[in-house]
C-alpha cells in the first residue's frame, strides 16, 4: 500500500504542484503544462541529460540541474524560465549550430527540425560564436537511409532507440568531447552493419542527420510519437 509519503508537493514557476515519488521535474512540469525545452529527451526512451536545454534553477542550490534526470523532492522550489536560464539555452543552441555544418535552407528537415524550431522559440537570430566548419562524412551506404554527420547534434536518441526499443544496438558513440561521432557497429558503413532496417532511428532523429532516401526537398516530417505506445503495448503483454 502506498503511503502519503509517496506524494511530493513542490513549486514550479510559483505554481504549487503534486507529484509521485520518483518522477522527474520534466515529467511533473509537463503534466502541469509548464513548458521546459528539451532536445535529447524523447518520451519512450531513457534520459541521458546530454543536451542541457532543460536546465532549471532550484532554490537553495547554486547548480543548475537538468529537469529530465532530476527527480522531485518534497518542498522543491523550481524556476524554469529565468533570464539566466534563457541566456544559457540560447548559448547552448548557438554552440550546437557552430559545432557542425547546419545549412537549414538545403536540409531535408527544413521546417520539421527540432533544433531549428527551438532556435526560433528561444529567439535566436544569429550565432555569436565562430563556426567551426569541420569536415564530416555522409554515409549513404544503406539502401534505405542516409546519415549526414554535418547535421548531427549527438543527442544519442538513435543510439537509445536502437538499443532500448529495437534491441539491435547498431548505433554507438565513438571518440570524446568535440570529436565524438555516431558510428554503426564497429565504425563500419551503415549498409554493411547488422541494421534491421526498422527506421526507428530516422523517426526519432530531431534534425536532418538521419533521413529516408525516398524523401526529397524538405518534405521529411518525422513521427516519433509511436514510441510510448509501443512501450505500452509491450508492457501490457
Amino acid at each position: 500500500m502506498s503511503g502519503e509519503s509517496d506524494v511530493k508537493t513542490l513549486v514550479i514557476d510559483e505554481q504549487e504542484v503534486s507529484a509521485r515519488s520518483g518522477q522527474t521535474i520534466l515529467e511533473v512540469a509537463r503534466e502541469n503544462e509548464i513548458d521546459i525545452p528539451t532536445l535529447c529527451h524523447l518520451d519512450g526512451l531513457s534520459d541521458v541529460g546530454a543536451c542541457r536545454l532543460c536546465l532549471v534553477e532550484i532554490k537553495g542550490s547554486n547548480k543548475l540541474l537538468p529537469a529530465c534526470v532530476t527527480t522531485v523532492q518534497e518542498g522543491m522550489e523550481i524556476s524554469t524560465g529565468t533570464e539566466r536560464l534563457r541566456a544559457h539555452r540560447r548559448t547552448i543552441l548557438e554552440m550546437l549550430f557552430a559545432e557542425r555544418n547546419h545549412i537549414c535552407s538545403v536540409c531535408v528537415s527544413n521546417g520539421h527540425c527540432e533544433l531549428q524550431t527551438l532556435a526560433q522559440e528561444q529567439g535566436l537570430t544569429h550565432v555569436r560564436l565562430p563556426y567551426r566548419n569541420p569536415e564530416l562524412r555522409v554515409d549513404a551506404s544503406h539502401e534505405r537511409f542516409t546519415i549526414d554527420h554535418n547535421r548531427c547534434i549527438l543527442c544519442t536518441r538513435c543510439v537509445r532507440v536502437c538499443a532500448e526499443v529495437e534491441g539491435a544496438h547498431i548505433w554507438d558513440v565513438m571518440g570524446r568531447g568535440i570529436d565524438s561521432i555516431i558510428i554503426s557497429d564497429l565504425n563500419q558503413p551503415w549498409g554493411e552493419s547488422a541494421c534491421t532496417r526498422c527506421g526507428k532511428c530516422v523517426q526519432v532523429c530531431p534534425t536532418g542527420a538521419l533521413f529516408d532516401k525516398s524523401k526529397i526537398g524538405s518534405d521529411h516530417p518525422k513521427y516519433p510519437d509511436f514510441l510510448p505506445y509501443l512501450n505500452l503495448m509491450r508492457e501490457a503483454k
Binding site: E121, R128, N133
Partner: protein
C-alpha cells in the same frame, strides 16, 4: 520629415533576398514615400554613398572584395541589417568551408572544364579561405534570417525599422524560412 536613405547590397548570395524584397510588389510604392533607394544592384549608383540610414546586406563575406565592401558600408551606414541566411550564417556559400577554395576552383575550372582549363585570377577578387557571416567582420544592428525572408517579413520589418516601432523578428522568420 525628409526621406530615409536606404541602400541594398549584394555580397556572396544568390540574389534571392533581393527578389523577395521586390516581391513586396505594390507595397514598394508605399515604402517609397518614406525612403529613397540611394544604392542597390537595381539602381544606377556605382559608389556607396557617404551617408546611408538603413543598409540591407544580402550575402556572406567570401572574397577580399566583399570584406572591403562590408567595412566601407559599416563606416557610412547608421543601421546595418543582415538580410537573409547567407549574411547571417554563411548558408550555402559557406558549404565550401570544410573543403577550401583551392579544391573547389580546381574542380570547377580544371577537372570539369573541357576547354581553356585555367583558374580565373584577373579582374575577379581573390576568395577568402573561409566564408563567414557579416557580423564576424562588422557590427550588425538587425538580423533578419530566412532563405529568403518572405516579402511579408520584409514589409513588417522595414515598416517597423522606418517608424522606429517594436519588431519581434523570431515571430516573423527563422533560419531556412
Amino acid at each position: 520629415m525628409s526621406k530615409l536613405r536606404l541602400a541594398t547590397v549584394w555580397l556572396d548570395g544568390c540574389s534571392g533576398c533581393h527578389m523577395s524584397f521586390l516581391d513586396m510588389d505594390e507595397r514598394l510604392l508605399e515604402l517609397a514615400e518614406y525612403v529613397d533607394v540611394v544604392y542597390s544592384p537595381i539602381v544606377d549608383a556605382k559608389v556607396y554613398p557617404e551617408s546611408v540610414d538603413i543598409a540591407l546586406v544580402e550575402g556572406a563575406v567570401a572574397s577580399v572584395d566583399d570584406e572591403k565592401k562590408i567595412k566601407k558600408i559599416r563606416a557610412h551606414t547608421k543601421m546595418l541589417v543582415a538580410m537573409g541566411d547567407c549574411a547571417i550564417t554563411g548558408n550555402v556559400p559557406s558549404m565550401r568551408n570544410p573543403i577550401g577554395p583551392e579544391a573547389i576552383l580546381d574542380r570547377a575550372y580544371i577537372q570539369n572544364a573541357s576547354a581553356q582549363q585555367q583558374i580565373p585570377c584577373v579582374v575577379v577578387p581573390k576568395l577568402l579561405k573561409i566564408v563567414r557571416p557579416i557580423h564576424e567582420f562588422v557590427k550588425v544592428d538587425v538580423f533578419l534570417p530566412g532563405c529568403p525572408p518572405s516579402a511579408d517579413t520584409f514589409h513588417t520589418a522595414l515598416t517597423a525599422l522606418i517608424n522606429g516601432g517594436p519588431l519581434d523578428i523570431p515571430a516573423l522568420t527563422r533560419f531556412g524560412a
